[in-house]
C-alpha cells in the first residue's frame, strides 16, 4: 500500500485536520445539536394537539432528523481527498453521466406524474395534506432515481 492510500480512511478526515474518529464524533455532536434545534423549532411552530402525542411526535421528528443532520455535518466537514475510494475527478467519470441520465429521466417522470395527477384531480375532489403529497413526490423521485440509475449502470457498465 502506498503512502497516499495509507492517509485515506473509510470515513475520511475533517478539512480542519484530526483523525477519522474525530470527524465522526464532531459530526455526530453537531448533528445532534442541529437535530435538537430543529425539533425545538417544530415544537414551537408545529401543529398543536394533545401534549403527550406532541411529545411522541417531537421525539420521532428528532430521531428521524438525527441521521440526516449527521450526514449533512459529515459532508460539510469532510476533506474529500482523504476519503478512501473517492475519485479525484468524479465529474468526468462515467458515473456522472449515469447520474445525469437518471436525473433527466426522473425530471420527465415527475412532470408526467404531477401533470396527469393534476389533470385527474381537477375532475375528482380529493382532500390531502400538501406536506404528505410533497413527501410522496420526494420518495417517488428517490425510488425512481435509484431504479433508473441501476438500470443504466447495468446497460452501460
Amino acid at each position: 500500500m502506498n503512502t497516499e492510500q495509507e492517509t485515506k480512511a473509510r470515513w475520511g478526515r475533517s478539512r480542519f485536520g484530526g483523525s477519522q474518529a474525530m470527524l465522526i464524533i464532531v459530526s455526530l455532536l453537531a448533528g445532534a445539536v442541529l437535530s435538537a434545534a430543529l425539533t425545538l423549532v417544530w415544537w414551537n411552530f408545529g401543529p398543536s394537539g394533545d401534549p403527550q402525542r406532541r411529545l411522541l411526535a417531537a421525539l420521532a421528528f428528532g430521531l428521524i432528523m438525527l441521521p440526516a443532520m449527521f450526514g449533512l455535518c459529515w459532508v460539510l466537514l469532510l476533506d474529500r481527498s482523504t476519503l478512501r475510494g473517492a475519485t479525484k475527478n468524479p465529474e468526468i467519470s462515467v458515473e456522472s453521466q449515469w447520474y445525469g441520465k437518471a436525473a433527466v429521466g426522473v425530471f420527465q417522470d415527475i412532470l408526467l406524474v404531477c401533470g396527469l395527477g393534476a389533470a385527474v384531480l381537477s375532475f375528482i375532489e380529493v382532500q390531502a395534506s400538501i406536506g404528505l403529497v410533497l413527501a410522496g413526490v420526494v420518495a417517488l423521485s428517490m425510488a425512481d432515481f435509484g431504479v433508473r440509475y441501476l438500470l443504466i449502470k447495468r446497460a452501460e457498465g
Binding site: K88, N89, I92, V94, G157
Partner: protein, 65 residues
C-alpha cells in the same frame, strides 16, 4: 465511437486501475471507455491524449456512417 485505448494502455503496461488513478476517475470509467459504451467528455479526452502523448484522434475514431 471506436477507440484504441486498450492498445495504448497495454503498450505502457498499465492496468485499468492504474490508468483510472492517473486520470482521477473510477475504474468503471476505463472499462466503459474501452468497451465503447462511454464517449468521454472533452476534458477527459484531453487528459488521455496528454497521458499517452498523442492526439485525441489517435485514441478515438468516429464510427463510419
Amino acid at each position: 465511437m471506436k477507440n484504441s485505448l486498450p492498445d495504448h494502455r497495454k503498450e505502457r503496461g498499465l492496468s485499468q486501475q492504474a490508468l483510472a488513478d492517473a486520470l482521477g476517475v473510477s475504474r468503471q470509467t476505463i472499462i466503459s471507455l474501452e468497451k465503447g459504451r462511454y464517449d468521454p467528455s472533452l476534458p477527459l479526452a484531453f487528459k488521455l491524449s496528454a497521458l499517452f502523448g498523442c492526439q485525441i484522434e489517435d485514441l478515438f475514431q468516429p464510427d463510419a456512417e
